[in-house]
Amino acid sequence: MKRKLSIFLLAALLLFFAFPVPAAAAESDFSESATSQAFYSLVSYSRMCNGLSPFYVLDRGAGKKDGYPKTGSVDRVQDLIDGIVAFKKGNATVQGWINTGLSGDVAKGAEWYAITLSQSGNYDFSAYREALLSYLHEEPNEKSPTERYESLPVQTAQKFALALIAAGSHDDMIQTIADRPIEKATVIAQIYGLHLLNNGVTSAAYTAEEVKMRLLAMQRKDGGWALSGQNGDVDVTAMVLEALAPHYHEAKAKAAADRAVAFLSARQNADGSFSAWGAKVNCESTAQVITALSDWRIDCATDARFVKNGKTPLDALRQFRLPDGSFSHLVPTKTEESNETPAADSPGKREQPGKTGADDQKGGSAKTGSSEQQPSGETEETAEMPEESPSDLTEEKEETVVSETDLSEEETGKTEKEKKPIGYKPILAAVLFVLFGGAALLLTVFKKATRKNLLLIGGVFALSLIFVFATNFETVRSHNQVAPKTNVIGTVTLSIRCDTVAGKGDSDFIPKDGCILPETEFEIEPGDTVYDVLEEATKRFSLHMEKKGGDGMVYVAAIAHLYELQFGEMSGWVYHVNGESPFVGCDSYTLSDGDTVEWMYTLDLGADVGNTFMEEE
């Protein structure tokens, strides 16, 4: 403690004299999902410019006009579209990319490229179609007793059905998928269901009217939509807008859309981008909004509601562009990148030797998190690399930080500390230091600096420092920020349910269907526990949660305002992994790829939700 304290004091001192800005470690690598979403948002924008139907009305390159007005200018996005196509097709032709690349990547993210390509030109998708059909028809095995397309979650199946329509298939499978009921499914399934109906498919389970009514009823008070919780979510809101776009002439849909557009405008960031609540600015959210706005014939490059400080969502999207034409999930860290973005320059110009070198190096350092942690010989060079433009002064500061952090690293053995941006703690500590130092100084000046008084001041200073460093205050935004994952080893499914008390009590906060979070996939890193995934879920969907206890013995007291003991002595939250109840605390159970985690509210110490205890080893 004492040692730590002295290090903190040192840090406080250092901060007080030189305010260094630590290099923020951000993931700026190529991202498949970011690239594909950017691609379809750009194509939907160009479809708006050409007066074509909304993006999800799949006309397969036929270019049906349907009387939509032409707005916007294709020039704003054409270079970006060309860049993505050039990046993806490599040396082949576009048709070649479809025949080999896309068909090989079936069910691995190729669907969005396929739908987008079908909406941007007239291509032959027969190879892709066959590949997708054979994937979906995969024979039953011990994992799934039926053919694959019947055992897939409804919204995943709907996505494939859409891809099939885009690829020009008339297979019966589309009808089978459309006939699956979606009444109790998530808002995403409603959206895809409406997309299917918008494409002329008829369903035995639902009509367009029903789905629209359900979607409109799901709209939150703030005008947005969300998977769960009271607040709207940017991505889900944009997706609902896309599904409602072909119904723009209906008064109810139009009114709901106007509120949603106002919601999106309010949630736009100062640089024109969008981010999910609490999450970092990301490419996917920005792209999703561009698609939604284009489908509603709102030119986001000129509409006053979406130009913030002269920055449009299209400008924001450019920030995520990498030199090779692809897109990254988060804004690349290099400063010169953002300096160039306003000018629409050709991809060729970007590939200068110096920069590609810097890129390689960045790729290498992203894994270790921060360049300051590399062996001492290279340290100073690499630390200076990301900061090229600022003056010599900042470089000097940078050096002092490096040497200081090296020192503390040796002493504490903790390395994650430097990754985080400066919190309030060192600043508060510095303020306290100045305050108490000033008091001591005043006492000396007025000749009252007796040993007793100085001891008192020192004691109070030490106590307040302990308080500052033992507690942790966070804003809602920073708390809900989910750190980007660098070493994903797989996905797990998480659901949170309270079926045992659904409909009980008169609280508005207990969902009628008992579903607090439907089955949702989360990526995990090595060592992630059940609690880590739950915490990430509560952050992503801004769910309420209360925990008790600290590291190694966390106890979840409440989720979504539903508390333990609220329904009797034996009530509370329990979790199952793959249907079994582990014998350890939720932050001691390490997850592996493919696990299914369920959190359930029990009224009887877990007996009523089917506890089956794992063998203790």
Partner: protein, 292 residues
């Protein structure tokens, strides 16, 4: 004091009713009305200095409760910030404020109760049902001011002798300890003496008789009838959920209607009853004096 002119039973019933209502009805409107009634009533009997002292004490108490409640209670939909990974919510702050208002209100009513219920009145009240208890109570209650007085005397005497006169903390603590030990000795001796004196006068040898000046007059009947009428209306409102109010997870309450307003009005009248009586009395007094 007007209430002193009433039968002790009347005043006891009134205070019991209003205290129970303030303690168990979790509704900020009820708490505020009750608080206003208690403060107005007590303000007739306290000096400005006492008022200032009480205000600082009650303010500190309520600020402490309001500030600490959110650190232990994390329910509520409006998250302000996170403390050690748990949400700190607006609802928790409001709940803390509500609870502290309730506590302060009850404390002030108790203070008012102590003004009205002097020891002879409480002896009268309990002498029939529990004579031994009322005797013990009156003797014990008498000890608090007596000890205060005696402590002051001892302290002054020691100061005059020049013991522990310095300003330092350690000396002050030592002086306080010395006064305390002398006080304990004195009170023990005093208790033994009192006991012996009572025995010598034949206490406990026969059933006690008492003399009382408190009769049950017409005004007692009127007061009790009015209070019972108001309180039964309030009770009806409470039982039918008119005053229901909950802080967690989001503030929820019965929307204001004629019925809820009527319940609040009845409670306001009941809570302000002593203050109104006292105020009317004082105004009359001034008026009569002005005519002399």
């Amino acid at each position: 004091m007007v209430l002193s002119a009433y039968n002790p039973v009347t005043t006891a019933v009134y205070f019991a009713g209003i205290l129970l209502c303030s303690m168990f009805v979790q509704n900020p409107v009820i708490s505020c009305l009750s608080f206003a009634g208690a403060v107005l009533f007590c303000s007739f009997f306290t000096t400005a200095r006492e008022k200032a002292r009480d205000t600082t004490f009650y303010l500190t108490l309520s600020v402490l409760i309001t500030a600490t409640n959110p650190l232990f209670s994390h329910n509520g939909v409006t998250t302000l910030f996170y403390f050690n990974g748990n949400p700190v919510t607006l609802e928790a702050y409001l709940y803390g404020a509500g609870i502290s208002l309730m506590l302060v209100t009850v404390l002030i009513w108790c203070k008012g109760f102590s003004f009205v219920m002097t020891s002879d009145r409480s002896v009268y009240l309990f002498s029939k049902t529990a004579p031994a208890l009322s005797l013990v109570l009156s003797a014990a209650l008498r000890y608090i001011p007596a000890l205060k007085r005696q402590g002051r005397k001892i302290h002054d005497a020691q100061k005059a002798m020049g013991i522990y006169a310095s300003d330092s903390y350690s000396d002050r603590v030592k002086a306080a300890l010395r006064v305390f030990s002398a006080l304990v000795g004195w009170s023990l001796e005093n208790a033994v003496e009192t006991g012996k004196a009572m025995q010598a006068r034949g206490y406990g040898s026969k059933k006690r008789t008492y003399y009382s000046v408190y009769g049950f007059h017409k005004k007692d009947g009127v007061f009790l009838a009015a209070f019972c009428l108001l309180s039964s209306w309030v009770l009806y409102g409470i039982l039918t959920g008119q005053t229901a109010f909950s802080y967690y997870p989001a503030l929820s309450f019965e929307p204001v209607s004629v019925r809820t307003a009527a319940v609040y009005a009845a409670f306001a009248l009941a809570a302000l009853l002593p203050a109104i009586l006292e105020g009317r009395d004082r105004l009359l007094w001034r008026y009569y004096r002005s005519k002399i």
